[in-house]
């Protein structure tokens, strides 16, 4: 599953900014390399150990690996990069239990919402090239969730080790990238919240909800949706500007429809 998410992300990145231009231009695309490293390590180590403790260690090691290769402006010094590596490792490891426990609609829907929040954050910072691949991955999560509705519960689609690493990695690395390139409008709190947004699904693992499948699923979605909403609120409030909405309408969406153009002509 991680490989599928990585492919969706990487293809969208390549569409926005050719990866062959590295490292002279578009160094932000090292996010793809980092993500690939993380998933590669996860898949490779998974062949060695499969116990519960082993899985945690694999995911944590994989989560750390990629961020150490990140070459973004704000992540140059060793201390910062190690802190990011540790945070990504913890985040990926924490996403493993809900990712392995119960797959299906609720997990993928919650992750779609979490990544949607990260995408919105990137868009708010004016970084559309990043918002598009994260949005594409979010859409893929949503589609997997929809497909899960048509499978039997015991055959649910689990995120697995590589899927957990991929989701935590995309959320963490994309938020770090927004933080690295933002020139002042996006608060750090929004970046931090967006990075941990996938962990909102832990709400469904808490004792009051975990006994009921429906309650757990709803709580998962609610957990991620709440964090996503908070990210959106903080980011949009910070960039609130009367003219900003008019600008966003012009630039974010597709060119005007024929109907609109006809109205202008008239």
């Amino acid at each position: 599953m991680g490989v599928a998410l990585l492919l969706a992300f990487a293809m969208s990145v390549a569409e926005a900014d050719p990866i062959v231009m590295q490292p002279q231009q578009g160094r932000w695309t090292t996010v793809v390399l980092c993500l690939g490293l993380m998933i590669g390590v996860a898949v490779a180590l998974h062949q060695i150990g499969a116990t519960r403790t082993g899985r945690w260690i694999i995911v944590a090691v994989a989560g750390c690996t990629g961020s150490l290769a990140l070459t973004l402006p704000e992540w140059g010094d060793a201390d910062r990069r190690l802190a990011l590596a540790a945070a990504l490792g913890v985040s990926a490891a924490l996403l493993l239990p809900p990712g392995m426990h119960r797959g299906g609609f609720s997990f993928w829907c919650s992750q779609s919402l979490a990544l949607g929040g990260v995408s919105l954050l990137a868009l708010t910072s004016g970084f559309a090239k990043l918002a598009i691949p994260v949005g594409a991955t979010s859409a893929l999560c949503g589609w997997i969730g929809v497909l899960a509705l048509f499978t039997k519960p015991h055959r649910s689609v689990h995120a697995g080790i590589s899927g957990s690493v991929a989701i935590a990695g995309i959320a963490g690395l994309a938020s770090a990238t927004v933080f690295a390139f933002d020139t002042g409008t996006v608060p750090t709190s929004a970046c931090t919240l967006a990075a941990i947004a996938p962990l909102g699904c832990w709400l469904g693992e808490l004792p009051p909800f975990r006994t009921s499948r429906a309650a757990s699923g709803l709580a998962r979605i609610l957990g991620c949706a709440t964090i996503c909403g908070l990210v959106a609120l903080i980011a949009l409030k910070a960039s609130a500007h009367d003219e900003a909405d008019a600008y966003a309408l012009t630039h974010v969406h597709a060119p005007p429809s024929i109907k609109v153009v006809s109205a202008w002509v008239r």
Binding site: W28, G126, F127, F181, T183, A248
Partner: protein
Amino acid sequence: MPCKICIASFIVAAPIALLAATSTPTPQSAPAATAAPTASNARTWKVDDVHSMAMFRIHHMGAGMFWGRFDDVSGTVTTSGSGPDAIAFDISIDPGSVSSGNDQLNSHLKSPDFFSVKEFPSMTFKSKSSKRGADGMWDVSGELTMHGVTKTINAKVELTGMAKGPKGDAAGFEASFTIDRTQFGMNYGTEKGSIGKEVRVIVGIEAGAGSE
């Protein structure tokens, strides 16, 4: 026989006229402008960053022409050389000073979608050669480094005026050139044609040098 006053006037006026003709470039409107700097009167003019800026124009959504500007332009202009055509530019522009009149758009222009100002904090132009045409304008060729890519470009440069101020001599230049931004790795918006590839740039420079 010429009178003594006429001879005295000539003696006083000749060096002044010679100095004015050779030490500084003069506007193209003045025929004396072709009297060019030589190696012996090399002068370096420092760009006045308050009175200098760069404007750029690009096609937006296939409809209007969008104009933006960079407020922070610095560097030097050297008027010296081996022949009458010599003029050299070493100009630096801070892409973080981009201004469109809209804060949200400014953020977008500074992001990796466009100038990626945190990654590439400076744009530079270093001229390699210049030649003054019959119209009095210079054809300046040099290397433009933008977005981490260096390309050779050709610019038309006009001397817009000369003045003597309290801080010394001042000279004004206006350079214009057109680039294809995709050659500099700046592709955002070109795939679907929402933002044009060609960017017309006009750089207005006022540079000063101490009085001679």
